[in-house]
Structure formats: C-alpha cells, structure tokens
Amino acid sequence: MTGGAFYEGGIVAEDFQKYLDPKVINKISKLEIKARLIVEGFISGQHKSPYHGFSVEFAEHREYVPGDDIRHVDWKVFGKSDRFYIKQYEEETNFRAHLLLDTSESMGYASGVVSKFEYGCYVAASLAHLIIQQQDAVGLVTFDEKIQKFLPVSSSPAHLKLILSELSAAKTGKKTKMGPMLHELAEKITRKGLVMVISDLFDDPQEILLGLQHLRHKKHEVILFHILDEHEVSFPFDDMTKFEGLEGYDPLICQPRTIRQAYLEEVNRFVEEIKKGCRSYNIDYVQITTDRLLDVALTAYLATRAGSKARAVRKV
C-alpha cells in the first residue's frame, strides 16, 4: 500500500519510501524520527507487514494498518465497532539482535552528502527500530580499535531511545582493529542471537574473518553489512590528486587515471576475500554503497529473521 496520508510531527509525509533515500533522510535532524521514517518507508513498500507474525498469548488489540495480514483482523470487534483491529499476541521470544557499528575514522569518509558512518547509523537505527517494533530485543555496540560503547540487548521501547541516543552521540575518530574486538564480543555475548556488523571493514581481512568465525562458533547468526562509499568502488578521479589518508596514512599525490585499474583490482580482491570467508562461515554478506536506498539492510535483516524463525519452527 502506498500513498497513505497521515501527519507526523507536523510534516505531511505522503510517500514514506522517499525516506529510504540517504540524501533525503539526511535532511532530517532527529535520528529517532529518521529511524521511524526509514522503517515506515520500508514497510510501505512491503506486501506483508513485518510486525508480529504469530504467538500464543493474546496481548492487546491494535488498529489495523496497511500491510497487516487480514487473517489477524478481529472480526468480532469489527462487528461491534465497525472498525478494523488486529489481535496482538505477547510473543514469548528469545530473539536477540546485536548491532555492531564501526566508528573508526575511515567510516567518516563521504564523497557525497552522507558519510559511511552516517549511513551506518541510519542502518543501525532503522534496524533497531524495526526490531523493537517486532518486540525483539536489540543491543548496540560501537567500536573502532576497541569497543567504545556496549548497550546490552533489550526489547523495551525505552531501550530504543537509548540506542538512538547513543548513535546520535557517536563520533568517528580512531583506527580500526576489528579482529580483537570481535573476539572480545564473541566472548562477551553469551546467549546466541543475531549479530549485525556495520562497517567498511578497512582492516586486515583475515583477522576480521577470524573474529566473525569466532562469533559463528558461539552459534550467533551474523549479517555483515559492508558499507562502502560509491567513490571507493568506482574511483572516479581524473585530475592530479593529493589523497590525504585517514587513520594515519601518509598522503599520496598521483594521477588517479593511471592507477584506477590497479586500485579497483585491489578493492575487488579484498571484497572477494571477505565474501569468500563469509560464504565459508555461513555469514550473510551485504555490500552497500552509501548512494543506495536504505531498505537494503532492512530487507537483508528480514530475510535472515524469517530464515531463523523457519529454523525454529522446524525444530519445534
């Protein structure tokens, strides 16, 4: 369903899908609103609501919103009140999601209006929002060369505010050292769940893969959101350029055209190595460039979530 008209904070938002565009969402200041708008935009493009599939214990009624499965409409209430209500059930869930956001200096690079870090924040916020909306628990970890912030998982709406607050406060600045950090987290997160890593992965790929392997070893499902800037994958420079490196690299003056091919080969080789490692550890790898719509991450999440439920049902 598209084109539903309702008010949000005084702003008329007729087409929520536009908020999937990083350039559009970047114009909105408050992360909380951003997260909501992204999720709403994402949902308005879905044929099926992502919220609450099924449960055993009734919790409350909720007004029908477009996208809800009409199977869950309480027709009795409709008969009485002539309004559509959905029956909501209190799900006894043990789904736990961890958002790991890279805040290293390299994530601060932006060729356009949105940096990789900002994009990563939007992804993390929208995922958190969606997860909390789904009554699942979510936690947040920000890291660079070490863990900067660790918010344990929770499914309360207040926790969402906390996560969004942390994301708003997070800043980039230090080098990346993902390997040890992942190992540390693997030990730290005791209950298995879904770990979503949002990073540009500018670190030693072998160490990253070892860290991810460690997480898998601890029975976590892992989604790796590889955030890259569009310029980093196309290298569209022509004139003589001085590249000033982040994370302590020396500057380099060169004619970009002469090394474009070699650069792209290096990037592809790196991505391939990561992809190959992910495949071997059964990790979902999602490469996202900052010019793409923000629903990519949410779609990937839902696909994984649906997969884990299916597995859970099979086990029952």
Binding site: E105, S106, M240, E244, L246, Y249, L252, Q255
Partner: protein, 749 residues
C-alpha cells in the same frame, strides 16, 4: 661563417618549445586537488604495484611529447640535408649563380618581372648553401658577364647585393658567359663540388648568339663538364601570354640628311605579343630632355600578333649638325623597347674629287671615271655627293685635298712621292682615298708599288702583281666576303655579282702578311674548263682616321664595261661605289650604337685639350662623365667609354640619348643614340627544355628546370640539398597519433 641548416632559421628557435612538456609536467605535478581518502590501503597497494609501469609510461609519453615539440618547429623551419656532404664529409661546395640581366628579363608577368624572380631564386640558392659553401654570382648579358664584388662566403651580404642588382638594357649571350664562369670555377679548383645555376627567361637569342659548334665555346663546355657536377638551367621567364609592342627600327629613309631639305625617318613597329593590339599610338619627337617636341604622331588601328608596320615621319632641319630624335609607344609589360632614339646628322654633301687618268681617250665608254661619276651623281640634286672631276694633269693644281672628303685616283699614270705623302696625310686626317687600276697603272705597277705600297708601309693596302687576262668564254665575277664589316652592314644583296659581274682584265693584288689590309670582294675566275680560282678584287685598310681602298680592275671598254654596269639586268656598279663611299665616310664616326658599344666622334684639332662631358639624357641617369679627346693624326677623336672593362660611370650600358657637350663652349651639343637589340624583346622566341638541352654536347651535365620550384624538386631528386620539411611533418603527425593512442591506452589524455 657557418650557414644555417634551415631555410627559415628564425622558426627553428621554436625548438625551445621542446622544454614545454617537461615544464608542463612539473607544473601539473604542483597543481592538484586534495581529497581526504579512506581506502588508502588499497590505493597505496595499487600505487606500489604500478610504480614501474607508470614510470615507463610517463617517460615514454614525455619523450614523445618532447620529440613532437622538437620536430614541429624544425620541420616548419625547412631543414635541409646535404646528401653529398653527408657522403663526402665536410666538403666545400662552390655554387656559381648566373643571373641573366638582359632587358627581356624586365618583362613584368603580373606584378613581378622575370629578373625579380631570378633574384629571388638566387637568394634562395644562397640561403640553401651549407657549411663552407662559396657562391660566385654573375650578372650576365651580351655585353659582359661580371661577378658581384662580394666575398662568396658572406651569404647575407651577398643576398643584399643580389637584391640591389638592376637590369641592363643589353641583349643576352649566355654561351659566351660560360667562359667567364669557367674562369671562376678554375679559381676555386680546390673545391670538391661545383654547381652552376643559370637563371634566365630562356630567350632563344641568349643561346643562338653564340654557337656550341664554335671550337672555343666547345672547349669551354667540355672543361665545364669535367669540373662541374651539375649545370641547372632554370626558366624564370613569363608563364602567361605575352603582350609586347616594340619599335624594331628607327632610321632615316635616305642615307644623307641635308639642311633645309625634308628628310624622312622610318619607324618599324612590331607586335611581339601573342594577341592582337588595337589603337597603337606612335609618337615622333625631335629634341631631347625638357626640350623634346612632338613633331608627329600616328595611330595604328590594329596590329596582329607578329605583324609589323612601318611608319614614316618627315622633318626638316634648319642647320647642319646633330639632332636627337625619338619615337615612343604606349607602355606595356616590357617598357624598355617602347622607345627608341636616333642621333641624326644633317650635313652638307660629301665632296668627291675624281682624278681621271685617261680622260676621254676612248670616249665615254673608255673614260676611267665616266661610270663612277654617273654612279655618284645620277640625280645631282638628290645625290649626297658633290663630285668634282679633274684630269690627272690638273691633279697638282687641285692638290688642296682638305676641300674634299673623298679622293678617287682612277688609273693615274704616275704619282710622285710628294703626292703620295699628301694622299697619306689626307687619309690619316679622316679622308677616303680610292685607287683603281687600268692600263697606265698596269704598265707602271713597279713604280706604283714603290711609291704607294712601299712594302706595306705606304698608302696602298696591297701591291700590284701580274695581270690577269680572261679570254672568252671565261670571265671574272665578284664574290663578297661575308664577315667584312661593309658586307655585314650593307643593305644590299651582293650575290648576283658572282655571276653577273663579268670582268675581262684585272691585276692580282698582293696583301701584306699581318697588316691591316682586308679584302671586301674577291674575283672569281671561271676558266673555260669550269675550274674556279679566287683572288682579292677590292681591298681596304685603315690609315689614321681615314681609309684607303684599292680596286684591282677598272670600268672601261677593255676591262669590264659590258656587264658590270647591268649585272643580271640590275645596276650594281653605281650602288657598289655609292655604298662603299657612304660606308667609309660614316665609319669615321659612330653615333648610333648598340648597348655597351663604344661611340667615336671626330673633332677639330683645337678640341684636343678641351674636356667633354658625356651625360645620358634621363632624370634617373648618373651625373655627367668628363672625358678628353685623344689625338689621332691631326684630329681629335672622342671615344666613349674609353675603357669598357673599367667603366667611368655607366658607359653606354643604358639605352637612350647621350649628350656630348664641350666644356666652356656655347656651341650646340652633339648627340649619340644608344639602342637595344630588338631581337631580345621577342619573348615568343623562348626555348623549350628539350631544345635547350639539344644545344649542349652529349653527356654535358645539364638539368633544365621549367621553374624555381622545379629546380628544388630536381635537386632533391639528385640527392644534393634536400628540403626535409615533409618527412619532418610526417614524423610529427606519426608521433602525434602515437601519443594520442598511448595516452589513451595509459589513461593520460
């Protein structure tokens, strides 16, 4: 001085632009934009990986671009490569440049004359000289060939001197000029390579004036063929259709101009152009300079190509003396032959004293002077001669010879030494003495030889030998000597006299060996058996300012009355003596001369010490030249130019009227006219390349070039100096393509 290896050396300075790619490269390295970059690890890895390849690519492109900027200005500067020098090392070259400066080279083809084209070609040749090259530049015409007095290795000065050259009014004789060229080549015999460049309009007359069959010219050509590598004959003549009207001749209709009597002057106008000319105005002037007055004019309605028309202009002179005359045509592409001058002299009659050795002995037909007098005075009032006839017995009483211009002694029995001395003095003072023989002379020929011949030192140009008697049906005819000045300049055809003049008696004439005596006519003895023998009949020799003529026969009933008078139904005897007397009376003075010739003028003895100013009557002419008459016998003789090899002023190398003015004298000035050779102006008579080549002996190293451009093509073809601009620019184009492809391939557009 080292010659530049470029035809346009200034452009070659553009090679400094070769530094531009390096400078641009260094500047561009300092002009960059700054990008904060996250994926430095990949960038550095790529940078290290490609470092070697990029260095090679950079150097390769830099080298190509530098070479490109180096070759482009070099190509535009017309580099010249000397193939021979490359083979022979630093050889010294000698290039002889012959500039034909005959007046036909002044023909203006559009805005440029042939001579200007020749000068431009000469400068190009000097420009292209390499290394230690030496150039000798000749300015050649029919009068002389002279070198430009500039050192041959000072090329810039030489070019300036060539630019300053002006054209002459002379004709051309380039074969003769080759003798001077050979001398120049021999002067630089040590030089390895000689090339000769002849820059001419290919006028046929320039080559036919001499002959390659002449032994002397043949020798010169053979020596040139041995010493010179190549002779280039370059046609710089007009390429368009010719438009030229010419005054071919301008002379008096009669041989004598008498004061108070109308004299007429003939003007022959010819259309030398390749198309018809309409409304050709011909003007006739008397006087010179500012005092020139138009005394007649006619318009020729039309004149087809090659057609000529003769006009007559009458004029009457009041007093004796020299008069400057001129005729002119409208201006055209060749101006110098549109005007022609004449110095006409009005004089009283030529006074002839006839001394008869046998007066009336055999009646009119036997009279020694009867026919001669008739010849000179057929119509006394019209004849230029005033004849006085005396008997040999009255010769003494008439001995004041200065009252006469010509003295004829016809078969005088005796001449004593005193009379012989007077005759000699008369001749030396400018008079003409004519001696004819007969029975008296035959009888006393020993005395004649002793008194008048004196072993070659006397008055007579020859001694008298034995008598020649011809019996019927044999006879003696007269044969003209073709190269004698009289025969050459005569207007009449003397060939009929060979069979028509049937003399029966004559005396063998013995000319002294090595003397000045020359034969004008020979007797041809046709024997009864048909055999032919020739011996001198009419001989002459100069004596002082005058001339003595001896005829080995006579005109009377015994010696040659029958047929001489009417040889082949034409009267030849009167014209013969008429012409001879007139010719030798004129020969004391040369007032109407060709360009470059000397004029001679006989002046009274009192003029000897007085300077004479000679000035060409033209506002552009140089100042007057002062000359002094020289003493010849008892007269003063003015000769100008005195030394043609070392001219004071311009001599007579320019056509026009020359004024001769005696310093301090109020007398009327005298005039001399210098005229061009009309044949030179016929520009339709140009030679084709094959015709020119045929003039020279086999294996003569001649290359005929139909234009300046063809010259360089031929030279390039022969591997001498090669203009390399084309290969250079092809190389530039190739490098440009290569650079574009490589830059695209290397990602450095």
């Amino acid at each position: 001085m080292l010659a530049s290896p470029f035809l346009s050396p200034m452009i070659a300075w553009g090679v400094l632009a070769a530094a531009a790619p390096v400078i641009i490269y260094l500047i561009m390295r300092q002009r960059y934009k700054v990008v904060v970059w996250a994926a430095m690890e990949f960038l550095l890895a790529a940078y290290k990986k490609t470092r070697r390849r990029r260095r090679i690519e950079e150097l390769l492109l830099l080298a190509i671009r530098t070479l490109l900027m180096l070759l482009l200005p070099l190509g535009l500067a017309h580099p010249v490569w000397n193939a021979s020098a490359a083979i022979l090392g630093q050889e010294e070259a000698h290039w002889v440049i012959v500039l034909d400066d005959s007046y036909s080279m002044g023909y203006r083809d559009w805005a440029e004359s042939s001579f200007q084209r020749a000068k431009a070609a000469a400068c190009e040749i000097v420009d292209r000289m390499r290394g230690k090259g030496w150039a000798t530049v000749f300015q050649a015409n029919a009068v002389r060939a002279r070198t430009i007095p500039v050192e041959g290795n000072r090329h810039d000065v030489l070019k300036e001197a060539i630019e300053d050259l002006s054209i002459s009014h002379a004709g051309s004789n380039l074969l003769e000029c080759l003798g001077e060229v050979l001398k120049a080549v021999k002067e630089r015999r040590t030089v390895v390579r000689h090339d000769i460049f002849i820059l001419t309009d290919m006028q046929r007359s320039a080559w036919t004036a001499g002959s390659t069959k002449d032994p002397e010219i043949l020798r010169v050509l053979e020596e040139i063929a041995k010493l010179v590598r190549q002779v280039y004959l370059v046609d710089v003549g007009p390429s368009e259709s010719i438009a030229n009207l010419q005054i071919q001749a301008f002379h008096p209709s009669s041989r004598t101009i008498t004061p108070g009597r109308s004299a007429s002057f003939e003007v022959r106008v010819r259309n030398m152009g390749s198309s018809r000319a309409d409304a050709v105005a011909v003007d006739f002037f008397v006087g010179a300079g500012d005092g020139r007055i138009k005394r007649g004019g006619e318009v020729i309605e039309s004149l087809d190509r090659g057609e000529e028309r003769t006009l007559t202009f009458p004029v009457t002179f009041d007093k004796p003396g020299a008069y400057p005359l001129s005729v002119s045509l409208p201006g055209d592409a060749l101006a110098v032959d549109n005007e022609r001058c004449l110095a006409a002299v009005a004089r009283e009659k030529i006074r002839v004293l006839l001394v008869n050795g046998e007066p009336g002995r055999e009646g009119p037909e036997g009279d020694e002077t009867f026919f001669l007098q008739a010849a000179l005075e057929l119509t006394p009032e019209l004849s230029p001669f005033a004849v006085k006839l005396v008997s040999f017995m009255n010769f003494d009483s008439e001995i004041d010879l200065l009252k006469h211009d010509v003295v004829v002694l016809a078969n005088l029995p005796t001449v004593d030494p005193r009379q012989a001395g007077l005759l000699e003095q008369f001749a030396r003072d400018g008079g003409v003495v004519i001696l004819t023989v007969g029975e008296h002379v035959l009888r006393d020929r020993a005395e004649f030889n002793a008194i008048l011949y004196k072993g070659g030192q006397g008055v007579s140009p020859a001694q008298l030998l034995e008598e020649v008697v011809v019996a019927d049906p044999a006879w003696l005819g007269l044969s003209a000597v073709a190269d004698h000045a009289f025969i050459r300049t005569s207007r009449l055809n003397w060939e009929p006299l060979a069979v028509g003049a049937r003399f029966r008696k004559a005396i063998h004439l013995g000319l002294p060996e090595g003397g000045d005596s020359k034969t004008i006519f020979h007797f041809i003895h046709q024997s009864s058996g048909g055999a032919r023998e020739t011996f001198p009949a009419l001989v002459e020799k100069p004596l002082g300012l005058g001339r003595v003529i001896l005829f080995g026969s006579a005109i009377d009933a015994d010696w040659g009355f029958d047929t001489v008078f009417f040889a082949q139904q034409e009267a030849y005897y009167p014209p013969l003596w008429y012409e001879i007397l007139f010719h030798y009376m004129q020969s004391g003075e040369k007032r109407n001369i060709g360009v470059g010739e000397q004029f001679e003028m006989v002046l009274p003895p009192e003029e000897l010490s007085r300077p004479v100013e000679v000035r060409r009557l033209d506002p552009q002419a140089p100042p007057a030249v002062t000359v002094y008459p020289v003493a010849v016998e008892n007269r003063a003789k003015l000769v100008y130019p005195e030394d043609p090899e070392h001219l004071k002023g311009e001599g007579t190398e320019a056509s026009g009227l020359y004024e001769i003015k005696r310093a301090g004298s109020a007398a009327r000035p005298d005039y001399v006219a210098v005229t061009i050779d009309p044949e030179e102006g016929d520009l339709r008579q140009r030679m084709e390349a094959g015709e020119a080549a045929a003039l020279f002996p086999d294996k003569f190293p001649l290359t005929v070039c139909v234009s300046r451009e063809a010259l360089w093509e031929k030279i390039a073809g022969k591997g001498t100096d090669r203009d390399l601009w084309k290969p250079f620019l092809i190389a530039v184009f190739t490098l440009l393509c290569l650079e574009t492809i490589l830059a695209w391939r290397f990602g450095r557009q």
